[in-house]
């Protein structure tokens, strides 16, 4: 689904994330070997790659959770490396990060999970305002009914939604999704894909969606980038990326769509 072009009336959209020549190794294992990636305003970019290819490492570097060995990352016009803690926090308030395993706070119920980042990052909000923002965010992900539940009582799909709601509550400009559909059944995956698109349209966020799920990629991507051997090998629309005879790319496609057919 190619929804919108990258230009608006012939003018290229501004770039919100710009990654150049990123390398990262753990011990003697080179995970990233020179990654380049651009994300434009209000665009969904899907990064595809096998498990262990360094997708999570890439977005953790973008948000400053990990330090790169070399290369540069610019987010919303700021170079992430070397930011003071204060500037880093200011930047992180504008970037939502949805974790692979949701990372909900076990000791708090859903409402407290959502209110916590809000209370910690704003001063002078009344209890009433906090409550309203919590309900707004829950409404956005369609889970108002779960407001008093504990994370342990939620299903995988619900946890994902609450995780996304928790990031939306700070009204981010950028969303980073780490494997939003991993471990979910196809129907729930479909709902999460719709939610990702809906978030992008409602809040005009720019997103990076990390996944190895091609259905998710096809349904959410404006552009797809394929991370292979530590580099972005193919970048383009979904159709462009998979219109190739490259055996590694082909096998990725076949694995997702051929193997899942009933035999």
């Amino acid at each position: 689904m190619q929804r919108e072009p990258q230009t608006q009336g012939g003018v290229p959209r501004p770039t919100v994330i710009s990654v150049r020549g990123l390398t990262k190794s753990f011990g003697d294992r080179d995970v990233l070997r020179g990654v380049d990636l651009d994300v434009h305003e209000a665009e969904n970019v899907v990064v595809l790659g096998r498990s262990g290819s360094g997708k999570s490492v890439l977005i953790k570097i973008i948000i400053g959770l990990l330090e790169p060995d070399e290369g540069s990352v610019e987010v919303l016009g700021q170079t992430v490396r070397g930011l003071s803690q204060r500037a880093m926090d200011a930047l992180r308030r504008q970037v939502g990060f949805s974790f692979q395993n949701s990372a909900l706070y076990d000791s708090m119920n859903v409402s407290e999970n959502l209110a916590f980042p809000l209370r910690m990052n704003t001063t002078g909000l009344s209890t009433h305002e906090v409550r309203d923002r919590v309900y707004d965010a829950l409404e956005a992900v369609g889970l108002v009914s779960a407001v008093m539940q504990m994370p342990s009582e939620l299903s995988g799909g619900q946890r994902k939604r609450i995780g996304i709601a928790r990031t939306l509550i700070l009204r981010p400009k950028i969303m980073l999704y780490d494997e939003p559909t991993a471990g979910l059944d196809p129907i729930t995956s479909g709902e999460i894909n719709d939610l990702i698109n809906q978030v992008q349209q409602t809040y005009h966020t720019s997103s990076i969606i990390i996944t190895h799920d091609l259905t998710c990629a096809r349904n959410t991507a404006d552009r797809v980038a394929m991370l292979l051997d530590g580099r972005m090998q193919r970048v383009g629309s979904f159709a462009e990326v998979f219109d190739t005879t490259d055996p590694q790319v082909k096998s990725f496609y076949d694995y997702n769509f051929t193997n899942s057919e009933p035999r």
Binding site: K60, F99, N121, T167
Partner: protein, 256 residues
């Protein structure tokens, strides 16, 4: 520079723990102060440990009295029991018992809680929400143990004396007033001060070690178990070392 893997790993561990303690000291005085979390942790450490401390303190008091009686009786000096017990409890037994109980109960709790928050990425989730997890989790918990262990120690001492009094009362028919009068006449302010200070140190030790182990837990479920276990073992080990050092210092102070 690699000297040998073992020595290197030890040096790195020392460096990392030192940076952890340094970060605690720096962030202790920085805003914001998470007052609600601090109260919650004080409750978890202080109030929730009361039943266990009550039991152990009471039993320690009774048993120590029972066991000491024959030795004193041999000199016909059972009237010294209250003094002996009070000194033993305040100077040594109560601080040590309280610290060890808290290391077991609170230490494993903190180690497991922070460890599981680490491996399920909840700590990183705080970081990306522009919340300082060190300040929120580590500082509040360590301050709570540092404040609560001395309070529990004094409580343990009282309960132990009550246990001891019941035993002495049953055997020597000493009245409550005379028991405490003889008991307290033997101790000095230095004793109280020394034990409270010692307990502050023990409380800090339990908090900072457990937080360190939890905060740096390795991934996977074994990581959580290992963090909880290491919190207890290392806390107890360090508490004994500190006990030994502090006793030397106090005895040196007594010389003045």
């Amino acid at each position: 520079m690699v000297i040998s893997p073992g020595v290197d790993a030890f040096a790195i561990a020392v460096y990392e723990s030192a940076s952890f303690v340094k970060r605690f000291v720096v962030e202790l005085f920085q805003r914001p102060i998470h007052f609600r979390e601090l109260i919650k942790q004080c409750y978890a450490v202080g109030v929730l440990s009361l039943p266990l401390i009550t039991l152990t303190g009471f039993v320690t008091g009774i048993v120590f009295t029972k066991q000491s009686r024959p030795s004193l009786a041999a000199f016909g000096a059972t009237s010294w029991l209250p003094s002996l017990i009070t000194v033993a409890l305040l100077r040594s037994l109560a601080p040590l018992v309280t610290a060890l109980i808290c290391a077991g109960k609170v230490g494993s709790n903190i180690g497991a809680e922070l460890g599981s928050m680490k491996v399920t990425e909840q700590i990183e989730a705080m970081e990306v929400s522009a919340i300082n997890p060190f300040k929120f989790l580590v500082v509040s918990r360590t301050v709570a143990t540092t404040l609560m262990v001395p309070a529990l120690m004094l409580y343990c001492c009282c309960v132990g004396l009550m246990g001891s009094f019941l035993n002495v009362h049953g055997n020597e028919a000493t009245s409550l007033a005379s028991f405490f009068k003889t008991g307290f006449s033997t101790i000095t302010y230095l004793d109280v001060f020394a034990s409270v200070t010692k307990s502050f140190v023990f409380g800090f030790t339990i908090g900072i070690i457990s937080c360190f182990k939890g905060y740096n837990a390795s991934s996977g479920t074994q990581g959580v178990g290992r963090a909880a276990n290491a919190s207890v073992v290392l806390s107890m080990f360090v508490i004994f070392i500190e006990e030994m050092l502090i006793v030397q210092i106090i005895n040196w102070l007594r010389g003045f």
